[in-house]
């Protein structure tokens, strides 16, 4: 049961983390009315993944190894683009909230409905097919009289959702400035991990070279079957065996994006209410 639990936990964390930050963000900027778009995206991702997974598991339809790696890799890279865009949306909101923006201007800074649906859809769906195939396999095992796989998988997913919910609860209580800086940093690291994951998929597909050229191998210290390896993989996509290209992509993403996100404002976001605010915005 542990094996199934850990996979459920990992897949659940990978899907739920970005969504919980997105939900916390919407609640904190007072746009809880937009939450339904997030749920729409999540529901669509779950439905599509389960349907496609069922197709692959119960019919003789199959997806070639190369094609599924290209699919997963491409979706992951697209997801990185969207999360990066989300990170900079949050930065603009943080800047505007430092000033005295009210009403209409603040409204304009909330992400559009379509963007919210797409972001949630991709955050949950990019690994949805893999998760669905794993779940259907657990369901099939029940058919042969073995309940442990499905129970383990369900508990793992439930644990991930609970953790994501706890994160949300913590995030909404924290003050705005801290919220934006912490979640911003978290999202940058998470996105870098997704990028590294996408690079690995494309290496497996042969689209990118260097599958066997490892930057490091710490699977002795962090064996894939342990809970800590699982949590690391599910949150920041840390692989005990990381290729050089993955490491390069990770650094090449984190450094410029973190610098851009945390650079001081070049000018005040609005006419400052107090002189101290213009000091923050000055070059």
């Amino acid at each position: 049961m542990l094996g199934n639990y850990l996979i459920g936990l990992r897949e659940g964390l990978e899907a739920a983390l970005v969504v919980s930050i997105l939900v916390a963000y919407l609640v904190k900027v007072g746009r809880g009315d937009r939450l339904r778009y997030v749920w729409t995206g999540v529901a669509a991702a779950v439905a599509i993944s389960l349907a496609a997974g069922a197709l692959l598991s119960f019919t003789s339809a199959s997806l070639s190894f190369r094609a599924s790696e290209i699919f997963g890799g491409t979706l992951s890279i697209v997801a990185v683009g969207l999360v990066t865009w989300m990170v900079f949306w949050m930065r603009r909101t943080a800047r505007s909230m430092k000033g005295a923006l009210e009403g209409q201007a603040r409204q304009a800074l909330t992400m559009g409905a379509g963007s919210l649906v797409l972001l949630s859809l991709l955050a949950v769906g990019r690994e949805g097919l893999e998760t669905a195939v794993f779940l259907w396999a657990a369901v099939q095992a029940t058919g042969s009289g073995l309940a442990a796989p499905l129970v383990g998988a369900a508990l793992g997913l439930a644990s991930a959702v609970a953790l994501a919910w706890l994160l949300y609860r913590r995030a909404v209580k924290v003050d705005l400035a801290r919220f934006f800086s912490v979640t911003g940093a978290l999202l940058v690291v998470v996105a870098a991990g997704v990028l590294a994951y996408g690079v690995h998929d494309l290496q497996e597909a042969g689209v990118l070279p260097g599958l066997q050229v490892l930057a490091f191998d710490v699977s002795g210290a962090v064996p894939p079957g342990t809970w800590y390896a699982t949590v690391l993989k599910g949150t920041v996509n840390f692989s005990p065996q990381t290729t050089v290209l993955q490491a390069v992509a990770w650094v090449a993403y984190v450094v410029p994006v973190a610098l851009a996100y945390f650079r001081p404002d070049r000018r005040p976001a609005t006419t400052p209410a107090t002189p101290s605010q213009s000091a923050v915005g000055a070059r």
């Binding site: 190894f65 094609a67 699919f71 379509g114 797409l118 099939q140 079957g225």
Partner: protein, 125 residues
Amino acid sequence: MTTTTVRRSRPLLLVVGSALALSACGASAGADGGASVAVDSSDSACSVARTELAAGATELSITNSGASTTEVYVYDAAGDVVGEREDIAPGTSQSLTVDLEPGRYEVTCKPGQSGEGIATPVTVA
């Protein structure tokens, strides 16, 4: 959705659509009477029901009878990965379909998802 959102989403939808289309090229609906071979991956063994196979689309029906999550790779003679199936949880079965040309291959099970794994040689006529 506003028209601006739709306009802005179009390039994105194009990329996602292309990803789907590309993978559809790699999808096949139904093996045409292709072979099915049972693979049992346990904690210490990787048993392939038949090690002399016919060329063509072959479905490996993999069962994990061990205690840890396993993955199964099919390597060709050059050491390249022809197919793989990861995250096969204990007690479950998953299938992996590979297109095999005549030659020598290795079906490798990696219980615990790390290390060299247990290789079983397979010949395709």
